[in-house]
Symmetry: C4
Subunit: 212 residues, 4 copies
């Protein structure tokens, strides 16, 4: 089975999920809002959670893109693992809204932060599961041109990318702000050009692969 | 009429429908939620219904993918049947939200479960209608390479796939949980790699068809 | 400018708009719903309006598809007219929700039906405006193979398609049900295979055009 | 990294964002609406804000289209800048809803108008940032065929396009209506065929580039 429609469907789900994040931004009721600027400022967690989730899903999209470029065709297990990844991605608008609503509350903030960290962790695990399936279990799905060393290296980096989210989830037991801060730091880290291993590998591969 | 935009439009509708499922996940109001974890746990039907609907639409997408791969071009009847299938898919977020809201209620749970089972049944019937149109009525739309035996086999398997949902719909008269449990079992069954006939046929076809 | 991304963007907007229609289907509050079946039955206008709008946007998508197939490239005016068409399509979920909410009310039903008819009329006018631009003003955008007679015929049929919606809009002054009934009749008419002129022309063109 | 999926993902996000704009159109509650026409007329800012935002995102989509056509491949910085542009686009439904809700209120109108103007300004800056990256910093990403003069000219025009939105944002300090009026004027200006520099450049380029 070729990969074209996997790309199209995944792009669609990720595009909708990333755009739905903004649906939760607060529109205060004019009747009870004497100072709009003040009211919006108090709801800063909504904007902060939106920004981190948007960039995180965005980076997953970029890595998903790079992953599918290495693949020539997909099997049924790849499709189901991809579906699972998309399911985890679709949970992010929910966990984002939960964090936004509870981050500054006296009750529930730590649990909401744990859910948020866990949803990003699940998303990363979902992505890692596809990578491992393709790069280690069913390498015949690859388009070729990847040495075993390079494959092991990509997987090692993917595995390393799980730790920050595991720590963020655990850190929620200490402080919701700490947990959110770790997720923010990861998003900023990936946003700086040339730090994502996947895209670098991809650029390397580019030099060996025929165009197209 | 070629099939490229049918794929694009169908992928779009299914991607939006599958992502909208998550819009119904509950964000409890902090003011009336002393224990967030407890409140969310009580709303487990929302998460359970979300997971089953997500995987079910996902499998329909995979089968839709496999179906269109066999087709070379589409006629007006295929377009209208496909539109009908997409209409039934768009009803799933509604029936999912209904089930989620009523599954643990004393009133309405069985009716909601019947609606849920019926919406999955309609979706399967919509898919079967396209398959029968293409594999039995208008075989000239096929790309070729499928023997009458293989076509009959695919249709037989598709027909067999309707029964569990018919049973789930009827079982709602006995118990909403039983009805939901059958839908869950079907989703789990399809999620295990190598059990969907369509994709296996597709892989068989792959060996005979030219690439592309 | 080539037309590929016009297709992709238009498919996206139409796919989202058609799926959002289902967001307005009613999920009654369990606390105030002793009989779910009864409550849902009373809200039949939501389901009726959903079905008509879904099929109507679906037919516009099919015709849009057929139109773009005749075109080789697009100019800026085509892009802006297409954007206007998409704007009118995006109004349909709004006018559908309005009709669904007011059809059985004692106040506002006729106005809501007029808005609904007018939104379908606007959508058809937007489609006709692109057709006229391409088939009569800037025929150099066509891929070739269409005689002036065929172009005039397609435009004549498109123009004729505006009348039912104009009548439906005007009929709202008499009765909201009559107005809705006309829109329903048009949707059923187009849903029957082989009655849409566009697709027939398209199939004729198929015999003269090179594949691809 | 090739640009195909950047197009697909960007088209998806823009298609969803532009369609979500209509979600905020008001459906008055029948119980408290004796005169539907009157109530809707009073909520004209919702329709006015919807129209301007729709056409503005639409023109960004057209320019995005023209920009990507000039590019042969993308680097990681282009991907991140594009993600930032999409983030700003996703903020427009929020700022549109805010303007719609507050434009005719005695409190908050000017702040809402400033947010609205600022969100369109951010969107334009995001677009300009990609253009500058591609047309001036990393010209090796271009498909070729653009003289330094043409590149400087396109950038100059893009920079000029930032001013109206900066003025609209500042003008909110004087009057929310003035601020909105400037945004409306810009949308109308771009909607008139043959005034957008990008598409003209693109048409020029068309004569030099090989088809495809």
């Amino acid at each position: 089975m070729p990969k074209t429609r996997v790309e199209a469907f995944s792009d669609g789900v990720m595009a909708v999920a990333i755009t739905l994040l903004a649906l939760d931004l607060p529109i205060p009721d004019p009747a009870s809002t004497p100072h709009l600027a003040h009211t919006l400022a108090k709801q800063w967690p909504s904007f902060a959670a939106f920004a981190v989730s948007f960039m995180t899903i965005g980076v997953v999209w970029i890595n998903h893109h790079a992953m599918l470029r290495r693949i020539g065709r997909v099997d049924y297990a790849t499709l189901m693992l991809n579906l699972l990844l998309l399911l985890f991605i679709c949970l992010v608008p929910f966990s984002t809204a939960l964090l936004a609503r509870y981050l500054t509350e006296s009750h529930g903030a730590q649990f909401a932060a744990a859910i948020y960290g866990a949803s990003l962790l699940l998303m990363s695990c979902g992505f890692y599961a596809i990578q491992r399936h393709v790069l280690s279990t069913r390498t015949e799905l690859l388009r070729g041109g990847m040495s075993p060393e390079l494959r092991a290296q990509v997987l090692r980096r993917n595995r390393a990318g799980l730790f920050p989210y595991a720590i963020a989830t655990a850190a929620a037991a200490l402080s919701a702000y700490l947990s959110y801060g770790i997720c923010l730091a990861v998003a900023v880290y990936y946003a700086i050009p040339r730090t994502t291993s996947d895209v670098m590998d991809d650029d390397l591969a580019e030099q060996h692969d025929p165009p197209g």
